[in-house]
């Protein structure tokens, strides 16, 4: 964790959005107490959330946003299935399981694809082109859905 901590401490110096400057100014004055204060202060928290949101909207490429939308969709479907299972019972357990694991698995695979194509992670995935990542993604999804269909009864 050590190298990551150091990079994090340097972060406030690079101004990204409006919120970074405000919080960094407060943190420099009194690190521990101000942090708790900024969390408790709803307005501050709201501002930070807004900043994160703006940052996301501005800095994320269109393709990645598409992936994110797909992930949100998968999460909703998975949640719906889970809620159904809790309310209506898990009678065809095979069917529930394969449906649920299909969403979870696909979510995980999409998240992996998102990580692999993220420009910030380039040095982690050396020699892994975006096309290759997508091919892998398709391969993984095919295995996943083969098993799901086989398991659904």
């Amino acid at each position: 964790m050590a190298p990551k901590k150091t990079s994090a401490t340097q972060q406030p110096s690079t101004p990204k959005s409006t919120t970074t400057t405000t919080t960094s100014s407060t943190t420099t004055s009194k690190p521990t107490s101000s942090s708790t204060a900024s969390i408790r202060n709803p307005q501050d928290a709201q501002q930070i959330a807004l900043g994160v949101y703006n940052n996301y909207i501005d800095a994320t490429p269109q393709r990645t946003k598409l992936l994110d939308a797909f992930m949100v969709f998968l999460m909703t479907v998975g949640l719906l299935q889970f809620v159904y299972c809790v309310i209506a019972g898990n009678y065809p357990f095979n069917a529930f399981l394969s449906g649920f694991s299909a969403t979870v698995g696909q979510f995980v695979l999409t998240a992996s694809l998102r990580m692999q194509t993220n420009r910030e992670n380039e040095k982690e995935f050396e020699g892994l082109s975006h096309e290759r990542a997508f091919a892998d993604y398709v391969f993984g999804s095919m295995i996943l859905h083969f098993f799901c269909v086989n398991f659904i009864n």
Binding site: T23, Y56, G105, V108, F125, F139, G140
Partner: protein, 761 residues
């Protein structure tokens, strides 16, 4: 040794582009040679005896494979076997690991397709050696991922090919799940390491596929299920979380769990039993950590990051608590008994005698480590230490694996099998490191001038230069130590010693394999006084007798050890077999064996037993017989009927387990004792009958049987088969009938009739 061969190749072929090709070719040749050696060293039993299935479990696998080949896959999947566990039957298709049978079935059909009609028995016999060649190759791949040394992988492959720890379960004829499972284990680990290194969905997907194959092949898959999450968890705790880890682990888990649930025997276990919960927990943790890492890069301040980390911990703790709650409330199946016995070695003995009764579940004696692994066992710690020196994600894996497997191997003899691959890998790393250091012919570069520093001095070059400039040369601590081996003598000595060690290792492996692990145990071998080999074939003789002389549906009662063999060789229904899924049923047999005839006979009638089979080694001195296993029958029966069967009654007042004149009445009246020693006196002059296993003289008066009659006794008396008598025609009890035939008068006949009662109709 093969490596040295490679080293001695001419210099021309070892440089530049052609050198790489030569090395690749040599490597392939060496690997093929290793695989051939691995196969060849497992053929002792075929050459000494014949192409025959060994031991106990393989007989069931063989029978199941024959069923699969004859009836097709779908029938095999739905197989209900009414010829075992009479009268219960067994849902065989849903209670076995089908990987082994399906593998040999596929090989059988492929060979037939290629117009090579090979008998299915030969495929089954030779499957384990064939897969051991593949295991050597997989070990090569795994080791090559761990180290840059080119020779380590080849050494590891060679070690894996011939180490007795692995040969013990993979000689020709040992057609057991482990035969293919060890290959799958090593290969899955290789794919996992590859996946973690590259962070590729493809490798993780392959890893999941092979994991699924492994699940279908062996119950030991739980080892992988827990080792990979542990690896991921330790990496997270070390602060080594990376997107690569996320990609590989989550892909493996999502696909692998689904794959494992396709096996009917495993079914919903991966989400319901505690054994698999760690994998799920780490999966959830990784999601959390991954998400947090992502948000962290988006968040501005450090405080938020600490807050987030706290949040992760809280969620993790809450999830863990939830899991514990679910386990306690019973939604998730608690840990299995076999699992508990791993942590508490006395657990099985107290709670599940049937697990403790199996000899391969006993704790390992320390010489066994040296016996099975020889020089590898002392190279092993060195290899693990070297992993610490260069600690990356994959080395962490080696360390965890070696720690866990060492522990498990100490707890159970059979788990030596899981330790063997990692020992081979670690030992090969240590060994190749020594070789790489000492086998270099040219002297290391003289570091007198600091500019011309050798490869070892690279890191500190700048610093030492500055130091040398700043500090006068006279200061001894500032002069850089010269690292490297200069003298040819020391090189030659070390290399020579290592070669001798390797040769000794080969000798040891060959000796152990030929002497300890190549006996089929169905056929026994002994040496005659003139040194020639004498084959004792009582088992097959007796089973063949059963096959030829009894009705197709005659039920045979025996202790569960012989259930699979009776099913496989004699093709007769059995009451209990090595599957041991129903403890009560086994205890019933144990009770019948350990009770008096009057108690046993109704039990046998109720279970429609026609024949009873016992194994008796007293004449030959064969120690693995039923009298020696008898105490386990008593214990297992006592577990269910503590009032009727008591272990204490089988010991003399001084706590001895005896079969001679001083044996307790309970012992001498038990069915097992009577069946073992019935008519045994007739072989000896009066009063001279001795049991050569227990080394004691038997009572002058041999036991008498009234409800059973001797049907068959094999040549060396190892197997004795008794027929259960039908009810007496005249309605007498068997004891009375026997007494009548002997011409004895009824004693106190008046008393037995009781007081006369006036019949009132």
């Amino acid at each position: 040794m093969a490596v040295e061969e490679a080293g001695s190749a001419t210099k021309f072929f070892l440089e530049g582009e052609s050198g790489r090709n030569t090395r690749g070719l040599l490597r392939v040749i060496i690997l093929v040679t290793i695989a051939a050696a691995a196969v060849a060293s497992r053929l002792f039993s075929v050459i000494r005896f014949e192409s025959i299935i060994h031991e106990f479990d393989p007989w069931f696998n063989f029978r199941a494979t024959k069923y699969l080949v004859n009836n097709g896959f779908y029938n095999f999947w739905d197989w209900f076997d009414d010829r075992t566990w009479h009268p219960l039957g067994r849902v065989t298709g849903g209670t076995l690991y089908p990987g082994l049978m399906v593998t040999s079935g596929i090989i059988y059909h492929v060979l037939r397709f290629l117009a090579l009609p090979v008998d299915i028995r030969n495929i089954c016999v030779l499957l384990a050696p064939a897969f051991s060649g593949l295991t050597a190759f997989a070990t090569y791949l795994l080791t090559s991922e761990m180290t840059t040394s080119p020779s380590a992988g080849l050494l590891a492959a060679a070690f894996m090919g011939i180490t007795p720890g692995y040969i013990s379960r993979s000689v020709a004829g040992s057609y057991d799940n482990e035969a293919i499972a060890i290959f799958l284990l090593v290969f899955t680990f290789y794919l996992w390491i590859k996946a973690v290194k590259e962070g590729s969905i493809m490798w993780a997907g392959f890893c999941a596929l092979f994991y699924g194959y492994m699940v279908s092949a062996w119950g030991g898959y739980v080892f992988i299920t827990n080792l990979l999450p542990l690896h991921a968890f330790v990496l997270i705790c070390m602060g080594r979380f990376s997107p690569r880890l996320y990609v590989s682990y989550t892909t493996w888990y999502a696909l692998g769990t689904l794959a494992s649930m396709q096996v009917p025997f495993v079914g919903f276990l991966p989400i319901k039993s505690s054994d698999h919960m760690s994998a799920l927990g780490v999966f959830g943790l990784l999601q959390l950590v991954g998400f947090t890492e992502y948000v962290r890069t988006q968040l501005p301040s450090k405080q938020f990051q600490t807050l987030l980390r706290g949040l992760v911990l809280v969620v993790f703790a809450a999830a863990f608590g939830f899991l514990v709650l679910l386990t306690v409330s019973g939604t998730i199946a608690p840990w299995s008994g076999r699992f508990y016995s791993l942590w508490d070695t006395a657990y099985a003995k107290v709670h599940i005698p049937i697990i403790a009764s199996v000899s391969e579940h006993q704790p390992t004696a320390w010489p066994a480590f040296f016996f099975d692994l020889n020089l590898l066992i002392w190279l092993f710690p060195a290899g693990v230490y070297m992993c610490f020196r260069n600690l990356k994600d994959e080395q962490v894996f080696i360390v965890i694996y070696s720690v866990l497997a060492s522990y498990f191997a100490g707890v159970m003899v059979r788990l030596m099998l899981t330790l063997t691959p990692i020992v081979c890998v670690a030992a090969a790393m240590a060994f190749s490191h020594i070789l790489d250091t000492f086998l270099v012919a040219e002297k290391p570069a003289e570091p007198a001038q600091h500019q011309a520093n050798g490869p070892r001095a690279n890191g500190s070059a700048n610093l030492s230069e500055k130091l040398a400039a700043a500090v006068p040369d006279t200061l001894r601590s500032t002069t850089k130590p010269i690292v490297g081996i200069y003298s040819y003598l020391s090189k030659a000595t070390t290399t020579g010693a290592l070669t001798v060690y390797l040769l000794l290792f080969v000798l040891h492996c060959t000796w152990v394999t030929s002497n300890a692990y190549s006996s089929p145990s169905v056929v026994l071998a002994s040496r005659l006084p003139d040194g020639s080999q004498h084959i004792i074939d009582d088992y097959r003789e007796a089973y063949y007798w059963l096959r030829q002389n009894t009705h197709q549906t005659a039920k045979v009662m025996s202790w569960w050890d012989y259930g699979y063999q009776i099913g496989g060789m004699a093709d007769r229904p059995t009451l209990v077999d090595n599957n041991t899924w129903n403890n009560t049923h086994i205890a019933t047999v144990g009770k019948a064996m350990s009770s008096r005839e009057e108690v046993s006979y109704p039990i046998m009638r109720q279970h429609e037993v026609d024949y009873v089979l016992v194994v008796f080694g007293g004449l030959l001195g064969y120690s693995g017989d039923d009298i020696n296993k008898f105490l386990w029958m008593v214990r297992i029966a006592e577990g269910i009927w503590p009032d009727e069967v008591k272990e204490r009654d089988f010991f003399t007042a001084r706590g001895e387990y005896r079969i001679d004149d001083e044996a307790t009445p309970t012992m001498r009246n038990s069915l097992m004792y009577k069946m073992s020693y019935y008519n045994y006196n007739s072989l000896f002059p009066a009063g001279q009958a001795t049991d050569r296993v227990r080394g004691s003289r038997l009572p002058a008066q041999g036991p008498e049987l009234s409800t059973l009659e001797e049907a068959f006794t094999s040549e060396n008396w190892i197997i004795r088969i008794y027929k259960v008598k039908d009810l007496d025609n005249l309605g007498r009890s068997h004891q009375e009938a026997l007494a009548f035939e002997k011409g004895n008068k009824r004693k106190k006949s008046g008393k037995r009739r009781g007081a006369r009662v006036l019949r009132v109709d």
